[in-house]
């Protein structure tokens, strides 16, 4: 049952990824600008251009080009970046950890803030506190991460300069890291000074990304908590002598979380999509920042690679959420 569900999802996932590959390819190939012409100095001969076009496979038919590219992708060959003259996959893997760390920290913050607000709101349902949480989450939700980022830059970069608003880590620091997962590695190496520096840089962009998601979690979870709190088994738990907080945490939270979980999955992909502009805003050296550079430089292979990696990330998250939902729901697990 579970395995079957997993296989079906996996298949749909592959179809989606193929679709993404086709769309990216089509969009990029209708680009009017000639990337080759931009790479060469003015006055390059036609022969030079033709040689370079052949090198990048741009002289073949579009369908043929697509399958050459797709074949390469399936072998892990995403081509060579035109602007940086390096292997695309290597470039992507070099930047991906920074984005993953940022998105994970943001997700954890969003869940922590959102769940706390939801529990608090459900506990004080029907009071002014709940109304306050509703208004705050409604407003927070309507303001996207880009604007939150700017607000935070103003507040904590200018007005009260306590956090760094630019970069991933202080440039003067000597980094002993061998991987790009700086945060994880700093923890493993017990270099908490570096962890702190990384977090200080990460905090503002992470908060900007986390706030809208936190608001959504607060709203959805509070709503479903309130529904669950009227059910008979919750009443029974109160009669047993458990306090309202215990009742929420032990009886209600898990069942209320299930309907929220699927929506949070989709929202988390939005959060990752948001890293593109938020990284730009905070000059954070992640994948999204590189993506914008790639677009501005018309670096087609790099754009393709990055978009595909983002898409892969998105479908994997949806798959993971779907599996988690099935695992947490006893009816599906045993049914």
């Amino acid at each position: 049952m579970l395995l079957q569900r997993f296989l079906v999802r996996l298949l749909t996932m592959l179809v989606t990824l193929f679709g993404v590959a086709v769309v990216v390819f089509v969009v990029i190939r209708v680009a009017p600008g000639d990337p080759i012409a931009m790479m060469l100095p003015p006055g390059a001969s036609d022969a030079d251009i033709a040689r370079l076009r052949a090198l990048y496979g741009l002289d073949k038919g579009i369908v043929q080009q697509f399958f050459i590219w797709l074949g390469g992708v399936l072998h892990g060959d995403f081509g060579t970046s035109i602007s940086l003259r390096q292997d695309v996959l290597g470039l992507v893997f070099n930047r991906l950890p920074a984005t993953l760390e940022l998105a994970t920290v943001a997700l954890l913050m969003a869940v922590a803030i959102g769940v706390t607000a939801a529990i608090f709101g459900a506990r004080s349902r029907g009071t002014a506190i709940e109304a306050g949480i509703d208004i705050a989450s409604g407003a927070t939700l309507s303001i996207p991460d880009f604007l939150w980022g700017l607000v935070l830059i103003l507040l904590f970069g200018v007005l009260l300069p306590v956090f760094d608003i630019s970069g991933r880590v202080s440039p003067q620091l000597d980094l002993p890291f061998v991987t790009q997962f700086y945060l994880v590695e700093s923890l493993l190496r017990l270099r908490f000074d570096l962890t702190w520096d990384l977090l200080k840089h990460m905090l503002m962009p992470a908060v900007a990304l986390a706030l809208p998601l936190a608001a959504i979690i607060a709203q959805l979870l509070k709503q479903s908590l309130k529904e669950v709190l009227d059910l008979d088994y919750v009443v029974l738990a109160r009669v047993k002598g458990f306090s309202e907080t215990q009742v929420i945490l032990r009886e209600a939270l898990k069942n209320a979380a299930l309907p929220t979980l699927t929506l949070v999955g989709v929202q988390f992909t939005f959060l990752i999509g948001g890293t593109v502009i938020v990284e730009r805003l905070f000059s954070y050296e992640g994948l999204g920042n590189m993506a914008i550079d790639a677009v501005i430089n018309r670096d087609l292979p790099l754009i393709q690679g990055i978009v595909l990696v983002f898409a892969l990330l998105f479908v994997l998250i949806n798959l993971a959420v779907d599996m988690m939902y099935a695992l947490l729901n006893p009816r599906l697990r045993h049914g």
Binding site: G19, I143, P144, V151
Partner: protein, 282 residues
């Protein structure tokens, strides 16, 4: 739903506030040449980084101060509103038209139409939207129409998903069934019975989408990919403000506040309208 009841409910405060701000901003944008105190493009290096009127060193006539090229901030904001509203209305309408049409088809007819459209929506959902928009504008070339097309292309799915779900549940209702028995054709039923019932959702989404379009346009101008760099845009002013944040905070604060108010108003206006016209809510 009778008119009297709608009227008696009155306008809620959030509708008033949100609608009020949008109206003011829209009128300012329409009559920009009459209202703006200065030429938004006029540079004067003698006047660079003038502070807003209540601070020392302010010049009369430059109410909100000037940017690094000595251009009047208020005038640039007012003219920037023109681009913002044009993009908001055009892009949101285009996204709405495409998304609603596909959503209605998928939701009402089901079967193959639904399967294909839903798969395309899935594929679209796997794109990071901002990156997709930036990519599209880069491909189409900068300019107002590219920005509008890009926003419509990335965000039609929002309408499609909601309308599909609504149309699906409406199509199962009894009144659609009885219309079918009464002999109306499928398309006739869809337009006569289903469409009016999904209007409240569409209106709310449309308003929300306008806010999103304003943001996406600002993001595109922020990365210098929106329309030609001469015309003032909110995102463009923000990009400048981000650079000179330590010398002239007002260049960032005022466009940011304008943007936040506008986005908040669009979403609250949509929610308010939905609450007012949805017979199920309330």
């Amino acid at each position: 739903m009778d008119e009297a009841r709608i009227l008696r409910r009155g306008l809620s405060p959030r509708l008033w506030l949100a609608g009020g701000w949008l109206l003011v901003a829209l009128l300012a944008a329409i009559f920009a040449p009459l209202i703006a105190p200065q030429d938004p493009l006029a540079q004067d290096l003698m006047l660079e980084h003038l502070p807003p009127f209540w601070l020392d060193g302010a010049e009369p006539g430059y109410w909100l101060g000037t940017d690094s090229l000595g251009r009047d901030l208020l005038s640039r904001l007012i003219f920037g509103g023109r681009i913002a509203f044009i993009v908001a209305f055009a892009a949101a309408s285009a996204a709405c038209l495409v998304g609603s049409a596909l959503g209605l088809i998928a939701g009402y007819f089901g079967g193959w139409a639904d399967r294909i459209i839903s798969r395309v929506v899935d594929i679209w959902m796997a794109f990071p939207p901002v990156l997709f928009a930036i990519l599209l504008v880069a491909v189409l070339g900068t300019g107002l129409s590219s920005v509008i097309i890009a926003i419509a292309v990335i965000d039609w799915t929002r309408f499609c998903r909601v309308i599909r779900a609504e149309a699906m549940s409406q199509a199962r209702m009894d009144y659609v069934e009885s219309a079918r028995i009464a002999g109306y054709g499928r398309i006739g039923i869809m337009l006569r019975e289903v469409l009016p019932n999904v209007v409240p959702s569409v209106v709310a989404l449309l308003s929300l989408e306008m806010g999103i379009a304003v943001i996406v346009e600002a993001i595109l101008s922020f990365v210098n990919l929106s329309i030609s760099t001469d015309d003032p845009t909110w995102g463009g002013i923000i990009a400048e403000g981000r650079l000179s944040i330590h010398q002239a905070w007002w260049v960032l604060v005022f466009p940011l506040a304008t943007l936040i108010l506008t986005v908040l108003s669009f979403s609250q206006f949509g929610e308010g309208l939905k609450a007012r016209f949805d017979p199920v809510l309330r």
